[in-house]
Every structure is written in structure tokens, then in C-alpha cells.
């Protein structure tokens, strides 16, 4: 008896005296739990505050296999609810682990069913899940997030640090039932929610741009396309659509990347606005100048031709623009000279990124004038031998619309932090590219393109549209020269011409028919007309035409469009462009 008391006494001394700290530490480790509080990712809104992407909590089904008394029965009960194979569930419930996931972020009805089953050792844990309530709208622009809620592409990765926020932590003492012990240890470090992004995108205009583009891709059997809408005064992008036709047929789907910013194309005739703007600005030509334009022109060892044969005609600069004359543009380009052509190409934003900072954005391809070949002075003025992104070309047209002032594009209007404080992004960078007078003259010419020229399909009833068509050959991939029969059709323009509010570009990849005035211009009319209504831009009072093209070329059939085959292996083979009407005899 005495010995027993001695033993007990010694044990008490040992536990309470000598090893007290260790046992206290063990006890605390059993009671005290550190729980990471996930930071909820910021939302992405359109310019009007509508959710494009948001994170909400959803329930994940987790289990402690060591506390599941009957894994077989539990698997049989849970498998149909979770839509999993019973063997898979049983395998997870029989692992020698204290924690397993059975299903991540399940829908609320499924979570409720799991709760009602009340399987011991199985519980629901709230976890954040990213949703796109507008479906795949603008998906190439928004990008995706991974399972760990980090951005993988698009704006999600570009603004990942701001969107992600900071996780928090809570340390509490809990009893065996998981209830917090009153008066026990409690430390809370709340999570910081991620910042929200307010984009410049208008959800409705984006939807219309995608809808119209999809219809055009389907009807023209194109490989894909893109459409961008920009607010002229601010450079804010109201819509940015990238669609591709699935290889196995079916309706066009969202592209896997934001091609409007990442991919380049040779623009073709839409580039003529740069050539003519530069020539007017430098005084090489005047708006009312005329010149005799032949059907073909030789540059170095190549012969460039018009898209439609015609005898030599006396055309004004406006006529050259309205008819998308290759020969006339080359003549103007030669007068301007390669150094000045290069100057204006770069001034209008070609050859460098737009400053959006979008992941994978291309700056385009511009050859140093010192490296131009003999035929480059023939190809570059008509938009071959240079490569630009859709956004770069649109920003160039927007500069003309904006009175000669280039406005850098923008995609994000503001950020909103977790406290609701809104921070507007810095105003877009601006620079004067051409004078307001030159811009006005070019606008007048571009309006004639739509009124009587190659772009009549771009007209929006009640408004004066200024724009340019383009039909450009596609270069071969990994080889010199151009793909036979492969063209990129485009239309770029702005409306209303009197006081531009919007600039729009539409690009179709390998459509049939190939002509920008036939397949891309109608999409412009559809999207621009819709956007004008949404933004409540009233039609201006009726005016006489801003300019008059006297040498109207009647519409040609596609069969009459011709191209001259490659001569030699120069850098820029000949090209065909959008159709125009047969020439009138020279007065």
C-alpha cells in the first residue's frame, strides 16, 4: 500500500513537476488548431458593374478516413450522390490518412444531400470557386484560373497579384466536438480580399460582337475571326472578340488565346490609310491632287497590279482610297519615301506594343528601312511585308478618328480594393501623329470608301461611316512566300465620321468569299450599329458628303479579280486586294 502511494506520488511529481511543460504542450497541440482563411479572389466587372468573373464559396466534401467506421457502407451511400464510382470513394476512405478530398466544390444540392447522409468522418468544408456567370463571354480576354486559384492566362494572370488577396489565419482552442473553448486561445488574422477589376468592356456590346462575328465565320466558312470596338476619345476597348471555327464543324467557339493582341497578320489594304495620311501630312500630295493611275506598276523586279484591270485613269487621292488602288498607293508611297513611311508606321503604333501589358502581346513586325529590299517600297505601302495585331491596326484608325491624336488602348478602368476604395487607372497615353487637318481629309476619303467605294456594306443607316476594306494574302508558315488561296479579310473604320464616337475593326481568317468588303464590312455595320444604339449616340443631322469620289469604280465580280504571280523570290510577292467596281473612262 505504501509502495503504491510512493509510486503514485513519484508519478505526480514527474507529471506535474518535471514534465509539466511537455504535457501542457501536448495538450495544447490537441486543442489548439490553426486554420488558414482563404483569401477570396477579387471579381472582374464590365464597365457598368456587371459580374464577368467572381469567386464564391462552395462546399468540398472531405473525410478523415481514420474516423469512418464503415468505409464500404459510406462509399455505397456517397458514390451516387457525388456521381463517383463506389470503388473510387472506398479507396479514398480506406487510406491511412487523416484527410482526403472526396469531391471539390460541389453544387449546393449535392452538399445538402451529403449533409443529410450524416456519414461519420465525412464533412463539408467551404472553399472558394471561380465562376463566369456570363458563360464563355470574353473568355480569351478574361483568362482562366487554376485549381489553386492562381491566374493561368489573360487578365487573370496579368492582374494575379491584385486579384489574389492575402490569406489569413485563425488560431482557436477547440474541444473534441470541435466547439471553441470559451476563454481559450484565440487569435484572428483576417484574410484580405483581392481587389476587383473594372474593365472597359461593355458586356452587351461584347455579346453582340461575338454573335455577329460567329455568324460571319459560319456563313463564310472562315477559320476564325476577331472584332474589336474602341471608344474613340478615350481608347477604352468596349468589346474584344476572338472566335475560331472548330475543326470538326459546329458553331464557332472562343479562341484559346487573345489573338487580337497576340497574333499578327499582314493587313493589306487597310494599311493604305497610313501611306496616304503620311503623304498628306508631309505635303507630298494634296487632298485635291490627281494623278494618272495605270493598271500595273513595276517596282524593282516585280510587277504590282490592281485588283481589277482598268485602263490608265486620272484619279484623285480620294478615288485612290475609295477604290483601294494598289498602283495609286504605291505611287504615293514612292513619293513619300521609305524613311517617312517607316516613320508614320511607327508613329501610328506599329512595331511596338500598345502598353496594355497583356500577357503574350505582340509588338508586330516592322522591318528596318535599311533592310528593305527593292520591292519593299511596293509592298509596304499596300500593307504586305508588315505584320500587325488587330489592336494595333484599330488604334491607328482610331488616331485618324481622334483628329490625328493617337490614344493608347486600355482594358481596365479601375480597381476596387476590399474596403471599397476605387482607384482609376491612369489616363491613356496620347501623342499627335498627324495634324487635325490631315485627319479630317483622310476621314473624308474614308467616308467615300463606304459611300461609293469598296466598303458600301459597312454603311450604318442614319450615320456616316468612314473606313477601309482589306484583303491580304497570308504568308506561309516557316517558309517564304504566301499561301495559295489563303486570305485575311478585314474592315476597319469609325462612326459617325462627323464626330467619331467608335472605331471598330473586323478580321476574318480565310473566309469565302475572300473580300473584306463582302464578309467583314457587314459585321462592322452590325456591331457598330448596335453599339451606337447601346451608347445612345444620336445620328448627326444630314450633311453633304465630306468628300466626293469622282472616279467611282463599279463593282467587279470575284472572277475578274486577279493577282500577278511571284516574280523571283523577293521579300514581298504581289498581292490581290478587295474588289472594286470596273473603272470609268478617264474624263
Amino acid at each position: 500500500m505504501v509502495g503504491a502511494f510512493v509510486v503514485l506520488g513519484a508519478r505526480v511529481v514527474q507529471v506535474q513537476g518535471l514534465a509539466a511543460d511537455r504535457y501542457a504542450e501536448v495538450g495544447e497541440s490537441q486543442r489548439v488548431a490553426e486554420v488558414i482563411l482563404p483569401a477570396y479572389r477579387g471579381a472582374i466587372f464590365d464597365r457598368n458593374g456587371h459580374d464577368l468573373a467572381l469567386t464564391i464559396r462552395q462546399s468540398s466534401v472531405v473525410a478523415n478516413p481514420r474516423m469512418v467506421p464503415d468505409p464500404m457502407a459510406a462509399a455505397a451511400a456517397l458514390a451516387p450522390v457525388l456521381d463517383m464510382e463506389p470503388e473510387d470513394v472506398r479507396d479514398r476512405l480506406t487510406r491511412d490518412q487523416a484527410f482526403v478530398y472526396l469531391a471539390r466544390t460541389v453544387d449546393d444540392p449535392v452538399a445538402e444531400q451529403v449533409r443529410k447522409l450524416g456519414v461519420p468522418g465525412v464533412e463539408l468544408r467551404p472553399e472558394p470557386e471561380r465562376f463566369l456567370p456570363a458563360g464563355a463571354l470574353a473568355l480569351p480576354l478574361l483568362g482562366k484560373v487554376g485549381r489553386d486559384h492562381t491566374g493561368l492566362s489573360g487578365l487573370e494572370i496579368q492582374f494575379d497579384e491584385a486579384l489574389a488577396g492575402q490569406p489569413g489565419e485563425v488560431v482557436v482552442e477547440r474541444d473534441r466536438q470541435g466547439r471553441e473553448i470559451p476563454g481559450g486561445v484565440r487569435r484572428l488574422d483576417p484574410a484580405d480580399r483581392g481587389d476587383d477589376l473594372v474593365l472597359t468592356i461593355d458586356r452587351s456590346i461584347q455579346h453582340e460582337a461575338e454573335r455577329s462575328l460567329a455568324a460571319a465565320i459560319t456563313s463564310s466558312n472562315a477559320k476564325g475571326g476577331m472584332a474589336i470596338v474602341m471608344e474613340t476619345a478615350t481608347g477604352e476597348v468596349l468589346a474584344l472578340a476572338n472566335l475560331v471555327a472548330p475543326a470538326d464543324g459546329g458553331a464557332p467557339v472562343q479562341a484559346t488565346k487573345n489573338s487580337a493582341l497576340t497574333d499578327v497578320f499582314e493587313p493589306g489594304s487597310v494599311n493604305k490609310v497610313i501611306t496616304i495620311s503620311g503623304a498628306l501630312e508631309d505635303g507630298v500630295v494634296a487632298a485635291d491632287d490627281t494623278m494618272v493611275v495605270p493598271d500595273t506598276i513595276r517596282v524593282a523586279d516585280k510587277v504590282f497590279s490592281e485588283h481589277d484591270p482598268h485602263p490608265p485613269v486620272r484619279w484623285s487621292i480620294t478615288d485612290i482610297m475609295a477604290n483601294s488602288s494598289n498602283v495609286g498607293s504605291i505611287m504615293i508611297g514612292r513619293s513619300l519615301g521609305k524613311e517617312r513611311i517607316d516613320h508614320y508606321l511607327r508613329s501610328f503604333g506599329f512595331g511596338s506594343r500598345t502598353g496594355l501589358g497583356f500577357p503574350g502581346e505582340s509588338g508586330g513586325i516592322l522591318l528596318d528601312p535599311k533592310k528593305w529590299s527593292g520591292t519593299s517600297i511596293g509592298t509596304v505601302p499596300i500593307g504586305q511585308g508588315v505584320a500587325v495585331t488587330g489592336m494595333q491596326m484599330l488604334a491607328a484608325y482610331n488616331a485618324v478618328a481622334n483628329g490625328g491624336v493617337y490614344v493608347a488602348p486600355s482594358l481596365v478602368r479601375a480597381t476596387v480594393d476590399g474596403e471599397g476604395r476605387r482607384r482609376a487607372t491612369a489616363p491613356a497615353a496620347r501623342r499627335t501623329v498627324v495634324s487635325a487637318g490631315t485627319a479630317q481629309q483622310v476621314t473624308a476619303m474614308l467616308s467615300e470608301v463606304v459611300r461609293v467605294g469598296t466598303g458600301t456594306e459597312a454603311a450604318v443607316e442614319g450615320y456616316t461611316v468612314a473606313g477601309k476594306t482589306g484583303t491580304a494574302r497570308k504568308p506561309k508558315v516557316g517558309a517564304r512566300g504566301y499561301e495559295e488561296g489563303a486570305y485575311v479579310a478585314s474592315f476597319a473604320g469609325f462612326v459617325p465620321a462627323e464626330k467619331p464616337a467608335l472605331a471598330v475593326i473586323v478580321i476574318l481568317d480565310e473566309p469565302t468569299p475572300i473580300f473584306g468588303g463582302v464578309v467583314a464590312a457587314p459585321v462592322f455595320a452590325q456591331v457598330a450599329g448596335y453599339a451606337l444604339r447601346i451608347l445612345k449616340v444620336p445620328p448627326p443631322p444630314a450633311r453633304t458628303p465630306l468628300a466626293t469620289a469622282t472616279g467611282v469604280v463599279p463593282e467587279a465580280s470575284p472572277a475578274s479579280a486577279r493577282s500577278v504571280g511571284e516574280v523571283g523570290d523577293g521579300a514581298g510577292p504581289t498581292t490581290t486586294i478587295a474588289p472594286s467596281r470596273p473603272p470609268q473612262p478617264t474624263p
Partner: protein, 172 residues
């Protein structure tokens, strides 16, 4: 018989011979009761009171702890309810965003309501009465032609009048 004289406190008095008592009678003698002193009436109350005070204090501690626990549970319950309401708000916000999505609205408009996108949109630009002529041509869609001779080019650019567009207004 006179009472015995009390000795003065200032000096011990030598007892004086008393006049002899009447022969044969002793003065009554009795024990002087002791001076009254203060005594506890309930000698066992102190330990009991002390014990009770300790018990009350302990009960008070228990009550305080119970109140703390109640408060803590209530706080946890409120936190759970706030959390549930926040989760409910998030779900409703997602539902609203989905219902407002353009694709959903278009689908409902077309499939449930039978609406179609307009083939073309026409703008009418009616203006006030023209001073040039009292018989203006009827309103036409699209852009109106300029009327020569009018002072205000914008007004003159349209030949329509409200009375042509809104026939009921022409009766005013």
C-alpha cells in the same frame, strides 16, 4: 447600620473600625457578581460564514464562466449565421449575374417570348414647323434632305413636322 465605606482609589485606605453592629445581627453577604463581559452568542457562525463566502465566490466564478461560455457560444452562433448569410448573398449574386447575362436574356427573348433581332433599325428625325413651307412632305426614314432658304441649317435639313409624325399633335 451604615454601608461599608468604599475605599478611595487614590490611596489605600486603612480600614476604620466600624461602629459595632447591633448586637446579634450579621450584615447580609453575597458574592459580588463579576463584571459583565462581552461574549459571542453563536460561537460556530464564523467558520460557516467563511465557508459560505468561499462557496459563493466559487459559484460566482462558475456563473461567470458559464456566462462567458454562453456569450462565446452565442458569438459562434452569430458568426455562423453571418457566414451563412454571406454565403447566401454570394449565391444570390451569382444567380443574378447568370440571369442578367446577355446570352440568357437573348435565349429567353427568342425561345420563350418569340422575339427576333431587328433586321434593320430606322431613325426618324422630326423637327418643329418649317417657316419655308406649310405643306411639308411626309416624314421619311433615314436622313432628311436640306431645305434651301432656311436660316437654321439643322432645322432646314429636315422637311418633316411633328404633325406629320404625331398626327394627334397637329391638332393642338
Amino acid at each position: 447600620m451604615t454601608a461599608p465605606v468604599r475605599a478611595r482609589r487614590t490611596a489605600p485606605a486603612r480600614p476604620r473600625p466600624r461602629p459595632g453592629p447591633a448586637a446579634g445581627r450579621r450584615p447580609p453577604l453575597h458574592v459580588v457578581p463579576p463584571a459583565p463581559r462581552h461574549r459571542a452568542r453563536h460561537p460556530r457562525l464564523l467558520p460557516v460564514a467563511a465557508a459560505m463566502a468561499v462557496a459563493v465566490a466559487l459559484l460566482g466564478l462558475v456563473a461567470a464562466h458559464a456566462a462567458l461560455a454562453r456569450g462565446q457560444f452565442r458569438l459562434q452562433d452569430l458568426e455562423r449565421r453571418a457566414d451563412a448569410e454571406q454565403a447566401r448573398y454570394e449565391r444570390l449574386r451569382l444567380d443574378v449575374a447568370r440571369l442578367e447575362a446577355p446570352a440568357h436574356i437573348v435565349a429567353v427573348a427568342q425561345q420563350r417570348l418569340g422575339m427576333v433581332p431587328p433586321a434593320a433599325v430606322t431613325y426618324l428625325s422630326p423637327v418643329g414647323p418649317s417657316t419655308a413651307s406649310s405643306t411639308a412632305p411626309p416624314v421619311t426614314a433615314g436622313r432628311a434632305e436640306a431645305t434651301p432658304g432656311s436660316r437654321d441649317p439643322e432645322l432646314a435639313s429636315a422637311t418633316t413636322r411633328w404633325s406629320d409624325v404625331k398626327r394627334q399633335l397637329g391638332r393642338r
